[in-house]
Amino acid sequence: MHTMDSYIMQETFILRLYACLQIRRVWLNQEGRPLSNLLSLRHDHVSISQIGSETAITKAMEHLSAPLDDLVLYHLKAIVAMNKDDPLSMYNYQSSAVQSLTKILQMQKEENWMLPVMNTMCLELRLLAVCVENTKTSKNMKPGEILEKCADCLMGCFRVCACDNRSSEDDTKRWGMLTLVNQLINKLHLCRPLIRAIESSPYKALFTLAQKITYKFFVGRKAMFDSDYKAADEHLTYVFEHCHKRSSKNKRLILTYLVPVKMLLGYMPKHSLLEKYNLMEFGELMEAVKRGNLRNLEKVMEKHESFFIGAGIYLIVEKLKIIAYRNLFKKVYLVLNIHQIPIQDLLSALEMQGIDDVDMDEVECIVANLIYEGKIKGYISHQHKKLVISKQNPFPRLSTIP
């Protein structure tokens, strides 16, 4: 028994020593990626049970010198917290680790080999922050408090990267900006200044595809919430086409935003596509919009309310009502085939669907809005209670409206 224990002790000692020497070696050789593995909380080494013991920490420090020692120290402490299943302290140590990393990055002029380390550690910091936020260990914590702190910490890194404008293109830390921006936008919602920083960067087109895709996804989604549907379509379409073809989970997520945006712009998705990605909620929606059936549209929205709210697109879907009105009024026009359409007929069309809370004034208001947005060409005569439409192309194709 005694020999067994001492054997394990000896083995962990060797492993520890080996790990420290490894860290020192890759540090001296400036090998960014291996170092990022050694400082990652998701790497194999964290499972060595003894790695975070008090003695291990002291021992480790003997082999390392400043400024790396602080960084490793916090990393080891984070592992201790992880083994104790204490996410809050784990977050705090990781945050300190990222802060010492920021200092190291600041000191390193004309070199950027540490960027992989920064990418890994910042990603893990963000994941931890989200985890702490969700578990809510302490009652005194304000909602969003940890996320805010995390954002501050990442912004520290971001500033170091963004200010590195004297180094040559190969050595500049500005290559790290986009990953950080992606971390910051994902959950942390700090968009405008960050997007500006990227858009004005000379390396905009040269970032890696994976980085660009993540970035464009967020920018596209933001454009959608800002009601800039053309830009949203552009970004999200790029993301959908370039995203890895086997990551169907991501593709589905992209489509959740892209489909309603496309519909607003007048492009209806194919049923097969919706089926493939299990997005049939949109199928029913599309049918109602196409047919101009407001009553059904309301029903579908009610039926899938939690899906639409959960995905954050309920308000976008609400806008589809405008398209549905346009389609319905166009149908009335096609049936009557006249250029002076009585408002009463438009109202009757709505009433036939079972919409009973709309009156003549409101129909006029809806039509006025459609004319204002260029979706109907014509004007309303209030005295004659008629919608007078243009002889040519009174209902322009939605995709052609600027």
Binding site: Y314, D361, V367, Y379
Partner: protein
């Protein structure tokens, strides 16, 4: 931080008990005393018997701490004179100009808030403190003298405000404070919702009261930010019991209508709201009318056909037809024989707001006061 005894008697509302303790502790502070000496007492605070004197005495039952900025050396934590209830009784006085009343109350409420922040009072109490303040600020937004509202209009439409007396910009400051208080309040609601369910009966009773007012406050928020995506998203994610409350439901309906620029529906639903919520909804009417008139200038664009003024008055909740005339002239539209000639090309895009107009008459507004301000204190 002071801890409060939890009331054990169910008949005596525990909330009230805490209020009483909180408000009436040490109300005659050194602060009041020095203001008395310096002759800085407001006329609402003076002891009637010493009114004519050179340095009138303070009436201890009336004094309320006034606002002063926190500064190094001044002890801010010692003051516990928070009494919104007595403040609002002053508001119901008819013998004094509203602006004077408003400025007095506004200043004192600011001080109340400052103290609350410094003393870090507990969330539930903070909520109960902010709710009447929010009501007061919403109400005041409607109650302003014409001149004040007009100045805001000038300010918004044309930025030559430098030479104007700052006190005229009540509307703007009022709006800022309202936004501050309301967002603080919403955060507090969210936080108290996150707290684990306490089994104590008192706590549950308080929560019941809380939810009652919260529905009103959430509705206010939705209406003040009518059509705003963030406010609507929040509304959609409200807990079920709040979302189905009639006021919240109607407010959501109005906000959604405005989200799709359905001005007819918005204006037909607003009068169905209770008075305070109408005050909130009407804060945006100048912008709403401007947008509606712009849309109508496209929809009814014609060189010949006009739109009846009386109809427009009904659609956009105008009180006086003269206001329509003024707004039309302001926006470049022709108003002839009580009719409007909408022409897209003539619409003056640069004008951001129509003229202000009060929804209620002064007398009517005044009669709402007790109901709005005192009922729930």
């Amino acid at each position: 931080m002071t801890t409060f005894s939890q009331g054990t008697c169910l008949l005596m509302c525990p909330e009230k008990e805490r209020w009483i303790k909180f408000f009436f502790e040490k109300f005659m502070t050194t602060h009041t005393y020095s203001r008395e000496k310096e002759g800085l007492l407001h006329k609402f605070e003076i002891d009637e018997n010493t009114k004519g004197a050179k340095l009138p005495k303070a009436d201890p039952a009336k004094t309320i701490k006034c606002f002063s900025r926190s500064a190094a050396g001044s002890d801010m934590t010692d003051m516990k004179l928070l009494r919104p209830a007595s403040l609002f009784i002053i508001a119901t006085r008819t013998d004094v100009d509203w602006i004077i009343i408003y400025e007095f109350i506004f200043d004192r409420l600011r001080s109340v808030r400052q103290d609350a922040a410094i003393q870090r009072i507990d969330a539930l109490m903070y909520i109960q403190l902010l709710e009447p303040i929010v009501r007061f600020l919403v109400y005041s937004a409607q109650r302003f003298e014409k001149c004040a509202v007009l100045t805001e209009w000038i300010w918004r439409n044309d930025c030559r405000l430098c030479e104007r007396n700052i006190s005229e910009f009540n509307t703007i400051i009022n709006g800022q404070h309202l936004a501050e208080c309301l967002t603080r309040l919403l955060v507090l609601y969210d936080e108290s919702e996150d707290e684990g369910n306490s089994l104590e009966l008192d706590r549950d009773m308080e929560r019941l009261i809380l939810n009652d007012n919260r529905a009103e406050m959430e509705a206010l928020y939705i209406l003040l930010y009518m059509g705003n995506m963030e406010a609507l998203t929040r509304a959609l994610r409200l807990p079920h019991d709040l979302r189905i409350s009639p006021n919240v439901q109607l407010s959501i309906k109005i906000s959604f209508a405005w989200y799709l620029k359905n001005y007819v529906r918005v204006c037909s639903l607003i009068p169905q709201l209770p008075p305070l919520l109408i005050c909130a909804a009407m804060t945006g009417i100048q912008k709403l009318r401007r947008t509606a008139l712009k849309i109508m200038s496209s929809g009814y664009n014609s060189k010949v056909f006009t739109f009846p003024g009386l109809k427009l008055q009904q659609l956009l909740l105008y009180k006086e037809i003269d206001k329509i005339k003024a707004d039309c002239e302001l926006l470049g539209l022709v108003f002839t024989n009580q009719n409007i000639l909408f022409q897209k090309a003539n619409f003056k895009d640069e004008i951001q707001l129509t003229y202000p107009e009060m929804y209620y008459t002064h007398q009517c507004l005044h009669s709402f006061l007790p109901q709005i301000l005192l009922e729930s204190v």
